[in-house]
Symmetry: C2
Subunit: 383 residues, 2 copies
Amino acid sequence: MTRAPAGSSAGGTSTTDGPPTAVGARLAGSSFLAACRGEAHERVPVWFMRQAGRSLPEYRAVRGPGSILDTVRDADLATEVTLQPVRRYGVDAAILYSDIMVPVGAIGFGVDIAPGVGPVVERPFSGPADLDRVRDLDPEADTPYVQATVRQLVAELDVPLIGFAGAPFTVASYLIEGRPSRDHACTKALMLGDPALFAQLLDRLATLALTTLRAQVTAGCSAVQLFDSWAGALSPADYRRHVLPHSRRVLEGVAALGVPRIHFGVGTGELLADMAAAGADVVGVDWRVPLSAARQRVGPGRALQGNLDPAACLAPWEAVARAARDVLAEGGGRGHIFNLGHGVLPETDPATLERLVELVHAFRPGGAGHGASAARAPQPRGA
Amino acid sequence: MTRAPAGSSAGGTSTTDGPPTAVGARLAGSSFLAACRGEAHERVPVWFMRQAGRSLPEYRAVRGPGSILDTVRDADLATEVTLQPVRRYGVDAAILYSDIMVPVGAIGFGVDIAPGVGPVVERPFSGPADLDRVRDLDPEADTPYVQATVRQLVAELDVPLIGFAGAPFTVASYLIEGRPSRDHACTKALMLGDPALFAQLLDRLATLALTTLRAQVTAGCSAVQLFDSWAGALSPADYRRHVLPHSRRVLEGVAALGVPRIHFGVGTGELLADMAAAGADVVGVDWRVPLSAARQRVGPGRALQGNLDPAACLAPWEAVARAARDVLAEGGGRGHIFNLGHGVLPETDPATLERLVELVHAFRPGGAGHGASAARAPQPRGA
């Protein structure tokens, strides 16, 4: 990673901009941004959800044993761990080191990220009286370290920086359940039993997500991802009735900023069309749905991101490569951002991700591009 | 539940039988069996996965604090807890009180069901040397209590008794991970990294499942369900390549017994056609896929089972009823066995399930049957 001169805080990615800024010029050839926008791109861009984190020895070396929230609040440290995977892997995008629970923690709801557990809420949301605990974010007062991290990163990076927020439903699930949940039972009971209160909560969380994303983009992020990680726990009817309107408000609210909007969840095979319709430029897909099927569901004019099974990365390299080539073939090489179907598992060997990036970069759709890169890339299997 | 005279151990459900036995005569009008077979049935049959268990006060009263394996090994106790939900709810089928890990525990693999955790394996499967630990079941020597429970139940019940087994993949996941897992990472790493060994393991587990189901049917079960609870963690390609052939061997192996075969998993929207093709008469569907969509995927000639979200049962009654009516409307009233999309959650109020059974029994497709039952049933919402 070479250090580049600091650019404007706008990230230069808005299509409504005037002359490109320094950053904009640097990112003009970004395959990631081109793929997000459905424009031509020579190679398939690749990054990995949770590319920064426990799978990297350099991450473990700089991080203490405490809450990851401490790392997020330290702009220098957050900058460093965001850069680590970009340096090591040569991925086509960086993603801000943060957590979807940072904003709701920053407004004082009482959230910690317990090591080995995940988000834990001291006093879960349980009734109307708790609504007042979900106020809007004042980014400069509540999360100055986030914007500082973004500005430092934009000054360093020569690939786009992705900002992100938790979608209203997924954040609500943590607030209501109080911890990670397999069934989301309390959340669904509230959603079905008191839809008006549930809508008020999601409305507030939509505002929070919108403010979060706007602050990140204003500070320099070139794309945003809305993580509705647990939306796949819902039936399509419940998703459309109780969740989609709030996610739409977030995604449509950032549309004017001119940066690509990625919308992602796990187990969302039945929801892909709705998640696209909510206002996504790019729909994230987990490994359960072949990308060709996903493309039919989201329709034309939208890119896809995904979808190698993260667990596949624990297999020997030849098996990883075979699975990755299947993903690339399904993606068709255009309007496709290669990623895992969910976050990097902590036990993943970084060497595997390194080789994956090489494999993806060597891929050319239709097999035509394999010529020049064949020496570096493993042979395609049938595809 | 009235006590009925003991019938033959064949359950009388085989279509290749001669004159119906006492049990066969008793079950001749079973709406559950008719729906499984795609035959005409007046009302939609209903039962609940995990209908016996922690949600029932009478269950908690008779069960000690120990492992549920102790209860399974006590035929009188297992009989009693199997009967409890049939008595209370008037469901149209009983399901043997047991666990998918019983057979593999009975052959000495070293399995316990830890309260609040699930199956825990003392020495997980980690290599070829462990294959010999997965021998076939000798039902009379290894699980005499299971067949004894089945025989006692068949003597008591006037609804069909469903036997069951864990599908090879799901049982393998527990054996390999050593405990319940969100990612099934070790399982997939073995599947992709050493497919030959993985196939050997699944082959043995298929034999085990087949022997298990045969023994249950011989003892009197009138239907079987193959639980591939975690198959939905796989991509369709991986499912077809590494799992389907083994599940098919189980399902096709029980075909000759003439009892309906239900094939169920969670999050299997992309796998429904394959799970049907594996040899199912009935495909279990979780709440993520509307039954009308599921019906298209499994094709004609197969019944569906499901698919109310178990978490919906924690909502106030009117919300439960609305969700249940949506399921009934989607199911179309024919070739549909009403169930939850997964097991009853422990915190479910039994009164809710009781009302659900009434609601399902009062339903008539097309609204025509609402006349006579309208006084008991809540009004349909649009459907």
